[in-house]
């Protein structure tokens, strides 16, 4: 039976994706769960597995094309006989990290319906009216109500109505024009998310220095003593952040359209610079993970991020990201909070400085600058500072990080 192959929806906010690779050729047979093509969404390239055994019949979309969720990219034969039907969009949607379910409910879950093209947009009358008034396309809004219905509170608060350009504007002096290029789908998505994050999240910033000579010594000794894991400074920072988060669960929460969400596990995002831009895999339950497995997980996530092979679920959740620019010779880095999270910790390079000691004599210190950007809607300055102080304390007395 001939069936359509569709662009799947991989995250709550995914509206379109780029077809970057076919892993089977027309005429090739494939097994259920075998990867058949790769879609690049906002931040990740994801291999899409086959729903069932079958044969790829035809490819109908060009590589590199940006396609809406639900668009047809080819046809396959499911080896069954009968009338054709569309392959349902796989429901691998990423929901916010659910708070530690105690058991999978037996009843059918009420996952939000994924919106295929032409599918009716469910929205309350008030949401429809406000969207029209503010010039918001409801297709771009994720609904939080029953069956994914869009409620008034789901709409962005600030409408992006283009300002009217007056034709009689004063004549500007001629300026040499540069080259103009259409941003890629990924660039556009990142731009939109960063603008929203910077506009909507009331950021505040706390900077501190950590004295890391003990940490550097410990790291060298650990790396010299064994060859299984190569520890980097970042692994200790991730561990310190995870432990601090586990000790202060009141910090481990994020602002959502529907309220302040407390997260069940101390997950920590790790910013990885790649050719495709910044990727943020989120390491799970870092608060309780011993250092060695944490280092292995971090190294593996970084490698997969570099290869563009991170799954969308790997980049979801967490209240904080660690962004380490230490290798780039910078003292302080003040970062924009990753959308959906509440904090980002920018790490600078380690510098040798003289500071007056208790007797006002110059003492050599190895200092690492850290700037915590935090969302003031969920954190107050004192709590955020206590959290940051815990991280500093853990880094300055690093032996504690060896015991989970």
């Amino acid at each position: 039976m001939r069936r359509e192959l569709l662009v799947p929806k991989l995250g709550l906010t995914m509206a379109e994706g780029t077809l970057v690779e076919w892993m089977v050729k027309p005429g090739d047979a494939f097994r259920a769960d075998q990867s058949i093509f790769v879609i690049e969404s906002e931040k990740a390239a994801t291999e899409i597995p086959a729903e069932a055994d079958g044969t790829l019949l035809e490819i109908s979309a060009e590589l590199g094309a940006t396609l809406a969720v639900g668009a047809v990219i080819g046809f396959w034969d499911d080896l069954a006989t009968g009338a054709s039907e569309a392959l349902p969009v796989p429901a691998t949607a990423v929901a916010g990290t659910p708070p530690a379910p105690v058991a999978p409910p037996a009843a059918a879950s009420t996952q939000p319906a994924l919106r295929a093209p032409g599918e009716r947009v469910l929205a309350t009358p008030l949401a429809r009216r406000l969207a029209q008034a503010r010039g918001i396309d409801l297709n771009t809004v994720e609904g939080s109500g029953p069956r994914g219905r869009i409620r008034a509170g789901d709409l962005p608060t600030d409408g992006h109505k283009p300002a009217a350009v007056s034709p009689s504007a004063s004549v500007a002096p001629p300026v040499a024009s540069g080259a103009l290029r259409t941003p890629t789908a990924t660039e556009q998505t990142i731009a939109r998310r960063l603008v929203t994050a910077k506009q909507e999240i009331p950021h505040f910033y706390l900077s501190v220095e950590a004295e890391v000579s003990a940490l550097q010594k410990l790291r060298s000794e650990l790396n010299a003593a064994q060859a299984d894991v190569r520890f980097t400074l970042n692994h200790f920072i991730l561990a310190a952040v995870g432990r601090a988060l586990a000790q202060m669960p009141e910090v481990n929460r994020v602002w959502t359209a529907d309220g302040i969400l407390s997260l069940p596990t101390a997950d920590v995002g790790m910013a990885v610079h790649t050719e495709r831009g910044l990727m943020v895999p989120v390491l799970r339950d870092v608060g309780r993970q011993p250092l060695a497995p944490l280092a292995r997980d971090a190294a593996s996530a970084a490698a997969r991020a570099q290869a563009g092979r991170l799954g969308a679920t790997e980049m979801a959740g967490g209240a904080i990201t660690v962004s380490n620019a230490g290798m780039h010779d910078v003292t302080y880095m003040t970062s924009i909070i990753n959308p959906g999270q509440a904090m980002i910790l920018g790490i600078g390079s380690v510098r040798s400085v003289f500071r007056p000691d208790d007797h006002d004599q110059p003492a050599l210190r190895r200092e690492m600058g850290m700037v915590l950007s935090a969302d003031h809607r969920v954190l107050d300055g004192v709590t955020a500072l206590q959290f940051l102080k815990r991280i500093v304390a853990a880094l300055e007395r690093p032996l504690g990080l060896l015991v989970a």
Binding site: P99, A103, P105
Partner: protein, 465 residues
Amino acid sequence: MEKLFDVLVIGGGPGGYVAALRAAQLKLRTALVECEHLGGICLNWGCIPTKSLLHTADTLRRIRHADSLGLRVTEPTIDFPRVMARSRDVAQRLNRGVAQLLRKAGVTVLDGRASFAADRSVQVRAADGSNRSLQARHTIVATGAHSRALPALPFDGEQVWSYRDALAAGALPKSLLVIGAGAIGMEFASFYATLGSTVTVVEAQARVLPTGDADVSDFVAKAFARDGIGLRTGARLERAEVYAHGVQVTLQTGSGTEMLEAERVLVAVGLAGNTDGLGLQHTQVQVERGLIVADASGTTRDPSVHAIGDVTGAPMLAHRASHQGLACVERIAGLHGHVPSPSPLIPSCVYSHPQSASVGLTEEEARALDRPLRVGRFPLEASGKAIAIGEASGFVKTIFDADTGALLGAHIVGPDAPELIHGFTLAGTLEATEADLMETVFPHPTLSEALHESVLAAFGRPLHI
């Protein structure tokens, strides 16, 4: 080692037992601990038995007014013990119903007082002194609230009543003083006055039903005064003396001091959360002024301890507790088809005569938003159905955001107001605008037509006024 439960609910009131039923529906191993009666205060000593008493009062009032309907009747005799006994029967019948529902759902019900131990287990001490230790992945605290006492008038069950004493009185008092003009005080004042007690209501704030809309307070206060109920608002209790046969209080009002005497006094000045003795110090929950800090789905600072209902503070209403209980259990079960609203619309109802019901903001609260408003008011004197049933007294008031057409608040006073308010609750929950409400066809002749007219009136186009 006791068996491990997925969900342990402490408290069998309308929050707790509903949460337990939902948890069992979701196939979670569920236990419920109750120290007194299943169904809680609501079913045993609150909502339900008072509605039984107020129904008696309503029926009596109708019989007295039957003359105007063309029926000649003589003044009925009141069998007061029988009135009270019926109220208790109703409560007991529903109490057995809850036990049956929990049994059918497979919820393990334990009698006793629960408290958290230092090792995070939950200890249940039964009335016979025996102790049981329970383990649960998630515990939901749904322990409710109790009447706040006045230091000058401690409850004694004789002259100084709590709501419980007012629900179990042996005889109709000749005179009754009610301290507190909230829903509880106003309902008992209405009941006892209708049956023949001389009733005076004392309220420290400037108006009766002080948390509601001021128009509703005014209307209800005038109706009470017409029914011969004394009202002292803005009155502070200065001194109180309790004697063998009654109570004497001295009030400080704006115009000076006043002495009032009554055979009985009902203290209904608010409720305080039941947080004592729960061992909450062994959890990470945050307790502020005797209440557990929790959100609309019962999330506390402790990831495995949740709290719902009155113990989490206002509005202390049974239906709110049930709703929060459901949201809490569904969150625990990881059911996340949609995010429960962080601020569900919770209607509040008062069953005095006249009855009243509200949802959303009062006009005063809406004005504080500093947005242009549209306020509609439709009097029941203009409702065909209200005239036909001889109860053409009351109004429906609606408050809209003038720019967006969002329904911000609705207030109804009059017959069966609590049965009518759901129309606006549903409209508000579905985020209907004035256009949707105008487009809705209301059946004729009903009191509900007044809801429609009020919306029309808010936008300057009522038909029947």
